[in-house]
């Protein structure tokens, strides 16, 4: 049984309660925040457990590197208070079940790229930026063997993650790559934040896609032609698990000559894509999701963005079409980088 490392004393002694006070989805003053955190620590019911939008942001807001979000989810699980209706939980849990044979394990020397459950996005990792990089989970029939499981944080189900993650890690590790670049930062967050927080051993080194892209672009620096686009970045929830990696967004934008437009919902104040809010049990969730998306897209529009850049396949599924309707081009970061070195994207 894995156990979350959460320093309760540190939390109760916190002078800011930023985890809840800064929450974009609940209006909580510091006094209430302290009371509610205490309840959560003690395993008691709290409105936070019911109203949490599961945007992960409190992981980043916590000034102590404690894990308030993991704790909230664990309590939702223990107290049987999932944020989503039961059929969606069941559906979600079943999504991760592999059903088309065992994965083929080829040994990889050095560094590999892990596509997790996004084998259908192989087109997004083409060209010189990814040249020579062996790929793990390129076959969509087998991709659930590589599913990092972190999605279940939206389902109030740390138990599912903890039950399955070790096997996934073993499968990844079986490829024997020394370093694994993760296409989605949800995987990066799993192996560098969630697993250590729960004491789950990870026998390989993880690299964030953006760090990799930045370094690869540096190698190809002479071929970069500034793109001169105005760009907004849709920061995904899982980026909150690796704040130091977020700096690579600005560094890449600088390197490829795009303007990171000034807007309200950016960096620590980034707005969730709404995908997970849509189905929540809480009254008015669907409308709230539409509201959040509208605010976010209006903000991009007002800032003059021509392109909206994504890391997360779920965000692009949720927001891609709506931003496009507003005349903003939805693009994966990898594709934006490919454009900068003069490659065509499919």
């Amino acid at each position: 049984m894995y156990k979350l490392t959460f320093n309760e004393d540190l939390c109760l002694a916190c002078g800011t309660q930023d985890c809840l006070v800064r929450c974009q989805h609940m209006d909580i003053d510091q006094k209430t925040a302290r009371i509610e955190m205490e309840k959560i620590i003690n395993g008691e019911d709290s409105f936070v457990l019911h109203d949490c939008a599961t945007c992960y942001a409190c992981e980043e807001y916590c000034p102590h590197g404690n894990h308030p979000f993991y704790l909230i989810v664990q309590r939702q699980d223990e107290l049987g208070m999932p944020p989503l209706p039961e059929p969606l939980i069941k559906r979600g849990i079943q999504t991760g079940i592999p059903f088309r044979g065992e994965p083929e394990i080829d040994e990889i020397k050095g560094t590999a790229l892990n596509m997790c459950v996004f084998s259908n996005l192989m087109d997004r990792v083409q060209g010189r930026l990814f040249e020579g990089l062996p790929i793990i989970s390129h076959d969509s029939r087998k991709m659930f063997h590589y599913f990092c499981q972190l999605m279940y944080l939206h389902y109030g189900k740390t138990s599912v993650i903890n039950e399955r993650l070790d096997k996934i890690i073993q499968t990844l590790a079986a490829h024997k790559a020394k370093e694994i670049i993760h296409f989605h930062d949800e995987c990066y967050g799993t192996y560098t934040s969630y697993a250590p927080a729960f004491g789950i051993e990870v026998p390989f080194k993880s690299i964030h896609l953006f760090e990799y892209l930045y370094n690869r672009l540096l190698e190809l620096k002479n071929e970069i032609k500034p793109l001169n686009y105005k760009v907004a970045y849709q920061r995904p929830c899982s980026s909150r698990l690796s704040p130091p990696m977020h700096q690579y967004v600005a560094k890449i934008f600088d390197l490829i000559g795009v303007e990171n437009v000034k807007r309200e919902y950016v960096d620590e104040n980034a707005m969730c894509c709404g995908g997970t809010i849509l189905g929540q049990k809480k009254e008015g969730s669907r409308q709230y999701c539409a509201e959040v998306q509208k605010k976010n897209i209006d903000d991009m529009k007002n800032a003059g963005a021509e392109i909206c850049v994504f890391n997360c396949p779920a965000c692009i599924t949720t927001l891609g079409k709506p931003v496009q309707k507003e005349g903003i081009w939805p693009l994966f970061m990898s594709d934006l980088c490919r454009l900068a070195i003069g490659e065509k994207i499919g």
Binding site: L84, P85, E86, P87, L88, K90, R91, Q94, T95, I97, F99, L278, G279, K281, K282, E283, G284, S285, R286, Q287, A290, K321
Partner: protein, 452 residues
Amino acid sequence: MESIYQALVEIVGEDYASNRHEELFTYSKDLGTSPPQWPEYVAAPKTVEEVQKIVYLANKEKVAIVPLGGGLTLAGLALPLKGGIIIDMKRLDKIIEVNEAARYMVVEAGASHGKVTAYLHKHHPTLMHSEPGAPAAATIGGNMAIHGQGDLAHPYGFNTDMINGLEVILPTGEIARFGSCAVGSGWYTMHPLPDLGLFLGWNGSTGIITKISFRLYPYKKIRDNDAFTVSDENLVPEILHELTHLGLTEDLIATSSEIPPVMNRLHHISIMIAGDYEEEMEFKRHMIFDLTLGKYIRSGVGGIGGIAAERLRPQISKSADWKKGGGFEYVGSIVPVAAYPECYRRGSEISARHDIPYTVLGRVIGCCHAMMFSWSYAFNRADAETVRHAREALHETDVMVMELNGTIWKPAVFGQKLMMDRMDQTTLQLMKKVKDLLDPNGIMNPGNWEVQ
């Protein structure tokens, strides 16, 4: 033998008639579990007159004729059970008229649904017809001959409820028209003439449909495929009832399947909505998800499975892929919507007995007046044992439909017999009289709806 072939060549030309083994081979099979049935000839006429000449020839020679559209029923309904000539209707595919103002369309019966959809999309983008979920090669005539249903079944019923006029070549070769077109008034209505509904649902055994006028409906610019998911099958009928009371949706389909695991023991209700304006869409979503289904969401028994997913037309089942070997056949039935839970439960038991992952689907017809409920059984074409299992499962399902007081839709011969065994004697004898009257030589798709 040779003289029939020569006569066919004279009618349709050498390129469109055949008695060659390798070509007949293709026509001897359909995609389901039926064993092959070999025709002796195949002819592909281009005009109504050519079809008529073939019918006269068949009467003269007392040889069976079987009209074939896309051949996609899976139930072997266009296989030549008694040999003879297959009339492949696919070249008879002209689009004759589209009347935008009165919202109808006249086509030759071999026109495919794919062609009709593409044509409307290109030339009349504000109109649509009710397209079945069959592969795009399915023909309008074949679909009407079996009382098909499409993606407008919830608001407007069976595709055959949308017919405005028919032209049919009778089994003896004469051409008859039905509806306003019979009195030369155009193709805009089937009513109010005396009812002569003798050709629909007969699998081509009472005549060959050559022209059809059918209704078109507004095609709205924004089209969403939304989903609502429940675990408890007993909730499905009441949810569908509430949604049809609201009356804001197009297609309504509930599905459940063992594979992929994400669908297992869950019921996904696809809710198709359409609108010309974003405001219209948001109004519909609000009415559907917040006001009508909100109570299920808040109590945790139902959830929004997705909003605004892309809506492909036609929506085609992928369940043939679940077993290696790419085969599947389904029993369709017309049942009350209230039967959904039992249909699902008993169907999944049949599947389990035959080691086939269960796949079921229910499409609402009309304002919850009925549902087309189907049970699909996948098999490996190269493995006779899996084919046998699928066939047995299909037969057990036919029997179950009867036990549930359902009506088998597009039954294979086995199911036709089950229904005729139960049929009221007067009706059965009337069917026989109609058939004998229209087809004195018994040449039209013999073996289908054959009253002993």
